[in-house]
């Protein structure tokens, strides 16, 4: 009876308090790559533990020598709940993926008709004739695009432009969109009783920090920071009020740019934690259970 209880407790812990605590541990952001791996470890371990708990409970009840009606009912219920959780995840993943890909396909089609390829700006960069200063990328294998508006192009100095392009290309190269998509799926599948909102927000921030670092290596920190401020200020909706807190994580990004010291020990520890989350439950809880079946 210990296996389902342990796995269930682990699932609850990893789904609720762990993301909330991890989102508050600001120091982890100084090793963004390791932190991103840890977030994925937490999410994966939570899902596996939840599914494992259901299956373990079902087998525990049904594998008895003489199963009574109550154990059979409990086993059936555990299986049902497990199937619902898994089904909900898969369905949300399918829906989210389909929706994102359709949106991107449509956007890419319009971009290719309306944007101007400008090799002087950068290879494969599309320029949109519009005053609102925006820079973004559209992910997709072999079909990705980096887009700048004329408004952005007009406001950026050459070294700032290099930083912006390096930032966008870092996103595309590292496929941050896939990580974000996975956490969006989690959030949409379980919006309430799992701390998926803080997880999604933090993962989004970490992806930006990673791209910022790549851009800073390429163009320098100062041009990147200037570009961030210029484009954030230029795109600000007129008369927007309030929002004194750092809603978009922009201040955090600039703060993190100031820190350049490498932290190999912290990175190793964070990575080890991510590995442990997946290995330890498997070795000590799931292994013995599977062996005893």
């Amino acid at each position: 009876m210990l296996t389902p209880v342990l796995l269930g407790a682990l699932a609850v812990l990893l789904a609720g308090p762990a993301p909330r605590l991890l989102a508050r541990a600001a120091a982890v952001r100084h090793t963004p790559r390791a932190a991103l791996v840890l977030w994925q470890g937490v999410a994966l371990a939570a899902v596996l533990a939840a599914l494992g708990a259901g299956l373990a409970l079902a087998t525990h009840q049904a594998w008895r020598r003489a199963p009574d009606p109550v154990s059979v009912a409990v086993a059936g219920l555990a299986l049902l709940v497990t199937a619902v959780v898994l089904g909900r995840l898969l369905l949300t993943a399918h829906r989210t993926g389909t929706r994102l890909r359709a949106l991107r396909r449509r956007h890419r089609r319009h971009l290719d008709l309306l944007g101007q390829r400008d090799e002087a700006v950068g290879e494969g960069v599309l320029v949109l004739e519009h005053e609102v200063p925006v820079a973004y990328c559209l992910p997709g294998v072999g079909r990705s695009r980096v887009v700048l508006s004329a408004g952005a192009l007009g406001r950026l100095e050459p070294d700032e432009l290099v930083a912006v392009l390096a930032h966008e290309r870092a996103h595309l190269r590292a496929r941050h969109d896939l990580v974000l998509e996975a956490f969006s799926v989690l959030h949409r599948a379980f919006p309430r009783w799992v701390s998926s909102a803080s997880a999604l927000e933090e993962v989004r921030l970490l992806a930006e920090v990673l791209a910022d670092r790549a851009a800073a290596r390429r163009a320098g920190r100062a041009p990147l920071a200037r570009a961030l401020v210029t484009l954030a200020a230029g795109a600000a909706p007129e008369g927007s009020v309030g929002a004194a807190d750092d809603v978009t994580g922009l201040r955090t990004r600039i703060e993190l740019l100031r820190e350049v010291r490498r932290r190999p020990v912290q990175a190793a520890l964070v990575l080890a934690a991510a590995g442990a989350l997946l290995v330890l439950p498997t070795a000590f809880v799931v292994g013995p259970w599977l062996g005893g079946l």
């Binding site: 519009h130 925006v134 973004y136 966008e168 920071a225 929002a243 750092d246």
Partner: protein
């Protein structure tokens, strides 16, 4: 057929350019073909296929004019660009659902911008 895609996209652009230049007036496939044929060797049926595709995607409006179909762009180039930009900004603002595009930076409040400028001054 990976190589045919850029060609097709190129053709779609050329057709759209013609329609945008025509403005409100609609053009027949024959008229667009005549214009394009001055610059490149191209079959009438190819132009028809491309214009049909554009109409199916809703980028071009198709109207019956007597015995032929007239085509015009859904909006001017500037209008369609503005529309695309509006969709882009909406997508950026939609944080909860997972966005299709990845913005370099989100729009910040004036307070945020002031704080950023202070942080920037310390950085450089």
């Amino acid at each position: 057929m990976p190589s045919s895609r850029p060609v097709l996209g190129d053709l779609e652009r050329a057709v759209m350019e013609r329609l945008w230049t025509a403005g409100e007036a609609s053009l027949t496939v024959r008229e667009v073909h005549a214009g394009l044929a001055q610059e490149r060797e191209i079959a009438y049926t190819t132009v028809m296929t491309v214009m049909d595709r554009l109409a199916r995607k809703g980028l071009v409006l198709q109207e019956r004019e007597g015995r032929a179909y007239g085509y015009r762009a859904r909006g001017s180039r500037a209008e369609m660009t503005a529309e695309l930009m509006r969709e882009t900004l909406d997508d950026f603002a939609d944080h909860d659902r997972g966005t299709a595009l990845v913005a370099f930076v989100d729009a910040a409040s004036p307070e945020d911008v002031a704080a950023l400028r202070r942080a920037l001054a310390e950085l450089v």
